[in-house]
Symmetry: C2
Subunit: 338 residues, 2 copies
């Protein structure tokens, strides 16, 4: 997109070898310019594609006071999981306060995201917030490389130097597992999140390291893959109950997966927490209303949203340079499932 | 917006008094142009503000393949009421199929909407879908008047000539009231929706006309105002139970208001449906899970979304002119509350 960078008056002045004021006078058809200078400036204007018409230029260059929120999930997930609503509430609140508008778009496939890039770089928005990125998605780096302010929700995969806001996933998982250990659970399973997302990886790492430090043997049959969704949690828990029926606790790396796990346990006639303790991650509104009410790791989703918006506004206004990272604390909320 | 019309190559040719091909040759720095002609063309380019750089010009003129969905509600309502999720699912599905992108934005105040207009008219989107408009909002007319394709969800207030998609609110209410009459209910109340929205007005009209045709006396103490929200339904039902304790049925003009009404009835020790029959409007996913399961008027929300998107795409592609109106049928779904 480098080629679409909008030429500035300074660029015209440099190419024509004249001062800024001279370019202005030519553009404004002032009489106090020699014919030779006028020709030089007009030549530079035409060659660079500079847009002297104020209205047209405004169209191309002005701030839109609009920020895109790109969510790499389907509408189904977006409305089904209160996590998203929480983050978006926080984002909306902070942008409102800053006089910026939020445009939300879903881009669940790689093709969707690729098609979206030219739009985001086409001066339709002043910056972008990206949520729910998977794996080696290069969109954040490409957008940032093209000069668009970008802030991510969640640490990026790999060594990407893009600002992000996240909650302390590792420590949240550590608290959950420590609680299960302290309560005498011996066979602690986990339904983990997608391993191409930092949230999935960090929560699994918290599970593994805490167990190892407590002297537990590593047992791969206690780890089942999930995708953060309720359906994924249900399937994973059913699998765990078949392969490792002696488990006495499960840490689900998201609340929806914990809801699915509770259902699978009920199907198999296991009582919670007596037979199997369950801990989720999110502390979503539904967590207090499950049967039994779900113990879960609270992450401050609205604050995450606010912080993302705050960082992006600072970048747009040029008040901040370089990639910041903000990690917000998590805490274990005990209800009745563990 | 007329002043920002992007100058064309033909306009440059006309002003310079040369042919299109000559302008192209100058722009492409072909050698086969005399110095004098080059100067004339460059002068015309600069004066008109023509953008010879292809990428920059594309930036200004091309279709964005993007459609805005403007929802005149808060994020709270948007995520709290499944009605919105349903319509949006339908819109997304149809736009996906047409290769268009959806950008969703909330504009809950008049100021939000006024600030949004220049953006919508600033070539950032190809068209707009508007949901949850209230009263004498002139945004649809102004957008359409400025040449932006627009389709509304719900009939507009007044005599606005803007295409819209709606469900048959009047007939849905009629079916609900007729069912209550047929089951011997004598004191039928309603918690009605906002009267500055067609959905609110048409459902109240269905209630009134059906009762009148059945020979019931009109009783204003049986009508309480709501705002389609659960909190509104709770407050309105409490008020009805105080002013008109002999009511034996209530038609709530939205499911969330029916959920609020069920809560108020429980507070007052009234059993549903024995003491008081309750019918809602929407047939949202939660309706099957209330205690008792809610009888309600089904409206095809996803189909409404699809139809809105289909109409808008036709307008954008110039396949349709003039305001269409699509009214989709509603039907009463009987569960246990009535």
């Amino acid at each position: 997109m480098k080629s679409t960078a909008v030429p500035t008056l300074d660029m015209v002045a440099a190419r024509a070898g004249v001062g800024r004021g001279t370019v202005s006078r030519v553009v404004n058809r002032s009489a106090h310019v020699s014919e030779r200078t006028r020709q030089l400036v007009n030549q530079a204007i035409a060659e660079l594609g500079y847009i002297p018409n104020q209205a047209a230029r405004t169209l191309v260059t002005r701030r839109t006071d609009t920020v895109a929120l790109v969510i790499s999930e389907s509408a189904e997930r977006l409305w089904g999981e209160p996590y998203f609503a929480g983050v978006i509430r926080g984002i909306s609140r902070e942008l409102d306060a800053s006089g910026l508008r939020l445009m939300l778009t879903m881009a669940s496939t790689r093709t969707d995201r690729e098609n979206l890039e030219p739009y985001l770089l086409g001066k339709h928005v002043d910056g972008a917030l990206l949520m729910s990125l998977h794996g080696d998605d290069c969109m954040p780096a490409r957008l940032q490389g093209s000069g668009l302010p970008v802030v991510l929700c969640g640490a990026p995969a790999g060594a990407l130097e893009v600002p992000y806001v996240d909650s302390d996933n590792f420590d949240g998982a550590r608290q959950a597992i420590q609680h299960l250990i302290d309560n005498g659970r011996r066979r602690i399973a986990t339904v983990c999140g997608p391993q191409d997302m930092a949230a999935g990886r960090d929560r699994l790492r918290g599970y593994r390291e805490t167990l190892r430090e407590a002297g537990y043997d590593e047992d791969p049959t206690l780890v089942a893959d999930g995708d953060f969704s309720e359906a994924g949690g249900l399937t994973a828990m059913r699998r765990l109950l078949e392969t490792t029926p002696d488990l006495d606790a499960v840490f689900a790396a998201s609340d929806p997966m914990a809801f699915g796990a509770l259902r699978a346990l009920r199907e198999h006639g296991r009582t919670v927490p007596d037979d199997v303790a369950v801990i989720g991650f999110d502390d979503s509104t539904l967590a207090a209303h499950t049967d039994p009410p779900l113990s879960t790791v609270h992450q401050p989703v609205e604050t995450m949203g606010e912080e993302m918006a705050r960082r992006l506004v600072a970048l747009i206004r040029g008040e901040e340079t370089g990639p910041s990272r903000t990690i917000l604390p998590t805490r274990l909320v005990l209800r009745h499932s563990a």
